[in-house]
């Protein structure tokens, strides 16, 4: 399944990056030091954190996409970092929980 396939399911808009990437598995979490050791390459990473450190952690862990829950605004330097490093970022108005439920229903 590609990132593009689930955008509609979770009412997400694309903030930046390529959505044709295949993904596998999901990680949910906001404590960045923990995400750094738990997000796996190719995951969807759902979080409400939106600062530049999110882009840095994503650069290290290489998720297929970062999904910002609850419509949080990606900060400008974070957008720059994500864009320059090819990180795909989506934004959804749903809570992290609801995003996971919808992803499950979409048979992820």
């Amino acid at each position: 399944m590609t990132v593009n396939d689930i955008c509609k399911d979770i009412d997400a808009e694309v903030i930046c990056g390529d959505t044709s990437k295949e993904f596998c598995g999901v990680y949910v979490g906001d404590l960045l030091s923990r995400a750094m050791s738990h997000v796996e390459c190719g995951n969807l990473w759902v979080t409400i954190m939106s600062n530049v450190n999110v882009a840095a952690v994503a650069t290290l862990t290489e998720p297929a996409a970062v999904i910002l829950a609850e419509d949080v605004e990606l900060q400008e330097d974070a957008f720059k970092g994500a864009n320059e490093n090819g990180i795909t970022v989506l934004r959804s108005p749903l809570s992290a929980y609801e995003i996971c439920v919808r992803l499950h229903e979409a048979a992820v």
Partner: protein, 184 residues
């Protein structure tokens, strides 16, 4: 990193990598704030390096292109109402070079994380770099925990501080001192 001691370790390792021979790690608690300060006589940073320090896409590491030590520390300190202040003199500017990193955390804040085991942290630092003269202080309203590697070396002579017996003595001594200031 869900304990502050891991941040202390991380910041102190920056001093080790900067080639410091003297590193002071100081924790101060006054009930409202927990301040920690790491001072070293390492190579220091240039103004350009210092300006980029809070950007995680800047790092002196060669192995990866992202550095999160200072960004994470700053984020955590600010989340608890505190701040991080870093001053540095690069070796090209003065013979009196080095870096001072000070971080303040609000102990009452809901996002404050536990300090964790500082005794094990200090032991890990000495074990990894027995040649460095660490000074460790942790004070609160009841008193102070104090350790000086240089003073221990003066007594021990040629015996390296990372000998298992010495390390275990350091651990016991620190724990004993911690009891004295009401931290077990």
């Amino acid at each position: 990193m869900d304990e502050l001691s891991l941040y202390v370790l991380d910041i102190t390792m920056n001093s080790v990598r900067a080639g410091a021979t003297e590193i002071t790690v100081e924790l101060r608690e006054d009930g409202k704030w927990l301040d920690f300060t790491v001072s070293d006589n390492g190579c220091g940073m240039t103004r350009e390096q210092l300006a980029k320090l809070e950007n995680p896409f800047f790092t002196t590491r060669k192995t990866r292109k992202v550095g999160l030590g200072i960004p994470f520390l700053k984020m955590l300190a600010e989340m608890t109402g505190g701040y991080v202040k870093i001053t540095s003199v690069h070796e090209s500017e003065s013979s009196d070079h080095g870096t001072v990193t000070m971080a303040r955390f609000g102990c009452d804040h809901i996002d404050f994380i536990p300090l964790g085991d500082m005794v094990e942290t200090v032991k890990a630092l000495i074990q990894g770099s027995p040649e460095i003269n660490f000074v460790y202080r942790h004070s609160n309203d009841k008193g102070e925990v104090y350790l000086s590697c240089a003073e221990m070396k003066a007594v021990l002579g040629d015996i390296p501080l990372n000998e298992p017996e010495i390390l275990s003595w350091i651990g016991e001594n620190l724990r004993e001192q911690y009891k004295g200031i009401g931290i077990v």
